[in-house]
Every structure is written in C-alpha cells, then in structure tokens.
Symmetry: C2
Subunit: 460 residues, 2 copies
C-alpha cells in the first residue's frame, strides 16, 4: 500500500465531490486560495510559519495509486471517467509563501495558491493538515525557547505525539524554532537534527541496584552517559553517582550528567548540584524533564535553578494547552473576481494579498499591513513566489538556514511579545488591513448580497 | 525511503542506547512491561481502549531498513556490531491485551508485553505513540457519542489532525466508538468506514450565485447533495434551496439536505427547518458543523434543535480539551522479580497483572479489581493473550466487531458515567488494587530501599 503520508486520497470526501462538479460543469478558471490563521489561541503572542517544505513536496509528489483510483471509481458515488481524470490531475499553478521560520500574526496569509480551481481545491485538506501541524508546533516551541532564555531544550515528546508524522515533524518544527535537538532517532536521519538520549526508569529497575545500572550504562557510553536518578530517591541516587564516579574515572569513564524526571525540580536540582559539586563532578550537567512546559521552564530559569538543559515532551508535541490553530484555506478570487464568505464570525478578506512588515522601535518589528498584491508599500513583503506553473523556484532552502531565520525573527520581536510566558501581552502586535482590502470586501458584499441571482458586477 | 509509519527508528534514542547496554552486558532475561494510563484527564469519565490492531501490526512488521541501520552504524554513538544485531532483532515474546472498544479506567493495564528485555524495551516509544493516540481519540469520540444521544456524528477533523496518521487513525477510532462515519476518503478504502461529504464555502463562492452553486452540485449528485447554506446568509440560502427544489425535482434531482456551519445553530436550525418544511422538503436533513464538541452537541440535543447529524472536527481529532492521556509503559518484572518505580507522583504497581470486571446494579459495570495474574477472581478478566512467542493467536478481529463491542460497553456504563458531558461524576468508577498487589509493592520497596547495593531478596 502507498505510504499514507504521500496519498492525496488522504483528503475530505467533499474535495472529491466538488472536483467532480467542477469537472462536469467545466469550471476550470484560475482560483486564488490563501492559507491563514484567524486568531491567536490563548497563551500565544505570535506564530512561526512552518511546513512549507512539506507543502512543496506534497504538491510535487503526492499521487493517487491504482488501488486508490479503483476505490474512487468503484465506490458508487462518482461519474464514469472521473477517477481517470483525477488520476491525471497535476498541479500547474503558482505558490506564494512566507519562508519557514518567519514570525506571523492572525489574518496574514502564509500561503497563496493560484491555479485552476480543481487543482487548488484538491490540495486544501492535506495542505492544511501539514502546515497547521508544523506551524502549531513551531509556534509552541518558539514560546518555550524564549522562556528558556538560553538553556538548551530537547524534544522528548514522540511517545504522546499524535502518530508517526506528528512525532517526526514535531522534532523538525521544534528544531526550526531553536530547540537544541530531539530524542527522536529518525529525525536525526531524515533532517540531520542533533539527537539526544539518556536512559529510562526500566533500565534502572531491571538492574539489582542503581549503582549497577549506572555502572553498566556508563561502561556502554563512556563519554556520554546521562544517568536517570529519580527512580527511587533522587538525592540518594545523586550520592550513588558521586560514590561510583571515582572508580569509573579510574577506568576512563566520564559521567556526563544526571537527569531529574519528577519531584520539586528547583529544590532537587540544588541538592543534586551540591552533591555532585561536593564530589568534584562540577562538569556534570543536570538535565530536567517530566511534564514540563514553557511556564514551568520560565519559573525554574527565573528562580535560577541549576538546571542546564530541559526535555520537553507532551506539552510540545501536542501543543497541549492549545492543540489547534484556527487555520483555514479560503477562496479569495475566482475567474478574476474577488470572493469572500460572510459567515457569522468567519468572514474573510477577499483578493490576492501580500503582507508587509514595518520596522519599529530599536529595529524590532513595528507593525504589519495586509494589502492587495497590487498595492505598493515601503516595508518588507513576506510572501515570495516559490513555485511557478508547477515548478519550484530557486534552490531548496536548508533547514539550518530556516532555523537561523527564526532565531533572527525572535530576536526582533517587540519586547512585549518576547518577554513573558504568562499570557498574551495587553497590546497585541498591530496588523492593519489596508483600505483597499476593506473597500474590496464592501464591493464583494454588494455583489453577493441580496438576491441569489444577483450575478457578478464587481471588479477583480 | 521507508514509510515512516513502519520504521522502528521512529523511536527515542534512549531505547537504542539502552539496547546497546543490554546487548553488551548480556541482559536478556524476560521482562514484563505494562501499558496503562495513570489518571483520567479533566472532562473524561472513562476511557476506550484502541490501537491494538496497530500494535500487532507494528510488532509483526516494523523493521529498520538498510539506510536506517547505516545511520545507527555511522552516527558515532554505538559500538561495532550493534547495528547488525539490531537489524536482526525480532519479537519472540507474548502480548496480552484488552480488546479494542473495551471501556477501561486508570491504573488498569491495557497491554502487557512479556519478552526478552531488549525486544520489549525496543517497542516502548512507538507502541505508546500508536495506542495513546487511538485510545485518546476513541475516548473523546465515545463521550461525543453519548452526548449525541442517537444522532449521527461524522468525523470532519482531518485538516487539523496532527498529520497523516493522526487523521487516518482518528477516523478509525471515532468509528470504533460509534461515529456514523468520516469525511476522510482514505479511511473508506483502508478501513471500510462509511464516508460522508458535502461541499465547501469555496464551491459556493466560485459560482456567481448560491442558486447556481446549489444547482450545479445537485446536478452532479442527484441523490446525495447536502448543500452548504451559511456562506452569506443562512436563512436566505434556505429560501434559495426551497425556491430551486421544485425545478430540480422535476428533473429527478432530490436535495438530500442542508448544512449549517456557523451562527446560532439552535435558532438557525429551527428557522431553516421551518423554511424547508414550508416548501414540502420534510425529508431534507439538517446537518450541523463548525467548532462543535460534545458539550455543544449535548446542549443542542437537550434543546431539541431539529438537527439530524453533526460533523465534529478539530475537537475530535485533536481531543482538543485534553490532547494527551497520561499513558505509560512500565517495567513490572524482570528476570522473575517484580519491579516498580517510586518516583514522586509516578509510582507504579509491580508484577504481572490482570483486570477483573464485576457486574453491579442493573447489569451495569459495578467495579474493577487490578490483581496479580496468579490470583483467581469470579469476575470477567479483561486481558487476553493475543500473541504467543511472536505469533498472533486467533483470527483477526474485524473492526465492525470491535465497534459492536464498544457500543455494548457504553450501554453497560453505570448511569453516572453515561450521563452528562459536563464533567466527571462526583463518584468515580471504583477500581480496587488487590491486597496481593499492594503487598508485592511493599516487598519490592523493601528490596530496593536504602543501600544501592541491597541486591535482590524478593520473590517474583
């Protein structure tokens, strides 16, 4: 069977039903869809765009295999010939995108797809699925990185990430936003991300004593052993480490550090530091984990707990306090005419848009303007064309470069957005909708209001 | 490249480091690991076990491919020969499991793995990743099903599920727990789940009028068209449907129903029902969607809103109010000796355990007992052996049968657990830990307390 991550049948059935209707009614004019997030979830002050690389890969390579086309053909819903037409559908349009690692805000399009309507519609579900996930995790990770104020963070969350792809892409998204690495081995192979690992409680439990477990592990990893010391009693285990260290050192084995995974991490890290220092193990690092999030890390950092690195698991890989963004993919133009929906609480801004960023105080980001593509501004445009007539433009962007871009972006956040993990700042970042976008919305509303047979009178 | 869903390199690095230590120190005695959930998250009254089928598939088929083994060999962390040994590792142990669709509670093992320690340790990360996700979603879905009180629920959440596998397995997990189907087309092919779909706002917006959009869609799906009516004005669009229905009927086209996706669903559904009924469209169903969850569905059902079916999206597929369960995989026995950790707030019950369920009032579930495997009780044992010495036992369980089992389980919940979606009932379901399990914990504590060189004195 085809890898599910590369199947375009991984979509909502309604994309297929709409495509059949477009096909049967010969609707093949150019459509413009934009992907954006409606609002910030609680606990987030900004977002970090991620997932563009997956999106490009999807558009270039995802296909229906023969079994999937046979299912479409035989499921009793679709007209004769539709599956064959679908099997030959290829993306021939343009893609505009905000680079991965860029900070962005609600109402700002991060992707714009310009293509014959069936090709653009068809992408909706999986494009959202990929970009939403990665933007969600990159955003969470960036908030953690700011809270850690320079301490190393490691992604520990594969086991409770939502499936294989979520775990693997969470590792990538966290690295993009400034994590020092991940525990997920496959992310090392696939993305070249530094991989970290210590030991589990089961390793300690399987030995007759903690001393025996620690010695065995250190013998196997003489330069790199981080020993987990909370299985029974954290401070007692720290003394055990101190006790066995000289014997190990005599054999050329250097204990790299210890990991705390439960209890009062502030108090325990101080006691453990003192035990290790008292034994001359001043180089041994203290690693902390166990249901951590950016709030807890911020508090430990603020309290100056002697913790060198943090492993963040479930709260990162599920973005547990806000496990979804209100990300949508909306038709903004069709056949040269601007379009919008007016659904209660879900109205959209019509037309092909660009996001302009303006510098404010001390070189930081000052404000953004969402304008029509055709408007000219002095700021920096965030959306670039990355695919033209179905072909990628420019060289592949290296993940390390995206990571540097993200670090630079975080360094230019206004102080109010950079500072506290304790919630959204009172004054949110200003994003202005241009007067021409607003006027276009009014125009579309006049065109589509009232009589359902009102037809098309506006301009595109 | 190998399908990531079938790679055992999708694991935490520490599994590899521990495996090398076990290999180098020739630790290959039988280990017993149990997978369980420590506590119920807020908003859940019980859990539904899911993911066993994936677990069996993982154990039987997941492998490292040559590129992955080359990465292990060349990453500079592991000893010569380790990658080769790892590549030949196969599961030769036993697996015990609670059947998919079974209701269970905290502290109750739902999987027990009995195998040489490396084989059992190796599975931890991905086994948790798969079983956690599916149990999480099946649990959320079951709470939705109870809230809907007989109305059909459809999974609409692929786009904001966390990646491909999360979306596909959420469809399966929701169906297992009693959803009527999913919008995810691939779930139809892979699992035979009924697939549903309507149309998106973009379809309406791409047409010059709602009337034109509705007609085009109905022509393409003459028996099966559910028309989305909230793009501009829900009640006006209902009148449009009423207006075009006779003309369509004259051509043999039957409007199946309408979908509301925003606004006050209670008030709008009544207005729309009245418009449709006034036009003789009494058979047309009303479908509702738009950021729904079990609480909103419960309120709409309680208010007797005339809504026939509900689409539940993000809140289902991300389990948004509780996106993770405190699921763990813990060593309970090694080399014939019971084991436990005592970490603060994370202590485990040692030994090989069985869960016994006892009937209470009116044939409903009364209470459970978690006991040692060797204890005999009169209740129903929930864990069955499903794999012996690496080979599956019995026939493959059909998903439809698991779905019937789940429905039967939900029907036997005590009324307090079945009733309200407004939070956990005051008296939680009683799960008793047997006296022998508690005595064994004390025994293990005595053995592992104090001096790290205390050695082994307990019995297994």
């Amino acid at each position: 069977m085809t890898d599910i991550t590369r199947s375009l049948l991984l979509t909502d059935l309604y994309q297929l039903t709409m495509l059949q209707a477009y096909w049967q009614h010969r609707m093949n004019e150019v459509a413009v869809f934009e992907l954006f997030v409606r609002k910030l979830p609680p606990g987030r002050r900004f977002m970090v765009a991620a997932g563009l690389d997956s999106a490009l890969d999807l558009i270039e390579n995802a296909r229906l295999d023969s079994a999937e086309l046979a299912w479409v053909d035989g499921c009793g819903r679709f007209a004769a010939g539709f599956a064959e037409w679908l099997g030959n559908l290829r993306f021939t349009g343009d893609l505009w995108a905000i680079p991965e690692g860029t900070v962005f805000f609600p109402a700002e399009p991060i992707l714009r797809v310009v293509a014959p309507i069936a090709e653009a519609q068809w992408l909706e579900t999986r494009l959202l699925n990929l970009v939403h996930l990665q933007t969600l995790i990159a955003t969470k990770a960036a908030h953690c990185v700011l809270a850690a104020d320079g301490r190393d963070l490691i992604d520990f969350g594969l086991r409770r990430a939502h499936g294989a792809e979520a775990g693997l892409l969470a590792a990538r998204s966290a690295w993009l936003s400034g994590f020092a690495g991940t525990a997920t081995a496959l992310a090392g192979l696939r993305f070249g991300i530094p991989v970290f690992g210590t030991m589990a409680h089961s390793f300690v439990q399987a030995h007759d004593s903690e001393a025996a477990a620690f010695k065995a592990f250190a013998e196997s990893f003489p330069d790199n052993a981080v020993l987990l010391i909370d299985t029974y009693d954290t401070v007692a285990a720290a003394h055990t480490v101190a006790h066995i260290a000289p014997e190990l050192a005599a054999r050329g084995i250097h204990v790299k550090g210890v990991r705390l995974d439960s209890g009062d991490l502030d108090a325990l890290s101080r006691e453990v530091r003192s035990v290790l220092d008292g034994a001359g193990l001043t180089d041994a690092i203290i690693f902390a984990s166990g249901n951590l999030d950016e709030q807890i890390v911020h508090e430990l950092v603020a309290a100056r707990a002697p913790i060198d690195s943090y492993g963040i698991g479930t709260s990162l890989t599920t973005s547990s306090d806000a496990p979804a963004l209100d990300a949508v993919y909306k038709l903004q133009e069709y056949a040269g005419l601007a379009r919008r929906k007016r659904s209660a609480g879900k109205a959209t801004w019509p037309g092909r848009k660009q996001v302009w960023r303006f510098t404010g105080e001390q070189g930081n980001f000052g404000h953004d303007v969402v304008a029509l593509e055709s408007e000219g501004y002095e700021g920096t445009p965030l959306l670039n064309e990355v695919m033209h007539r179905g072909a990628r433009l420019g060289a592949v962007v290296e993940l390390a470069d995206s990571r540097r871009l993200c670090a630079d972006q975080l360094a230019h956040l206004p102080p109010a957005l950079r500072a506290s993990p304790t919630g959204v700042s009172a004054t949110a970042y200003p994003v202005n909708i241009s007067a021409r976008v607003q006027a276009l919305a009014d125009e579309v509303d006049r065109r589509t209001a009232g009589d359902p047979s009102s037809g098309t009178t506006g301009s595109g």
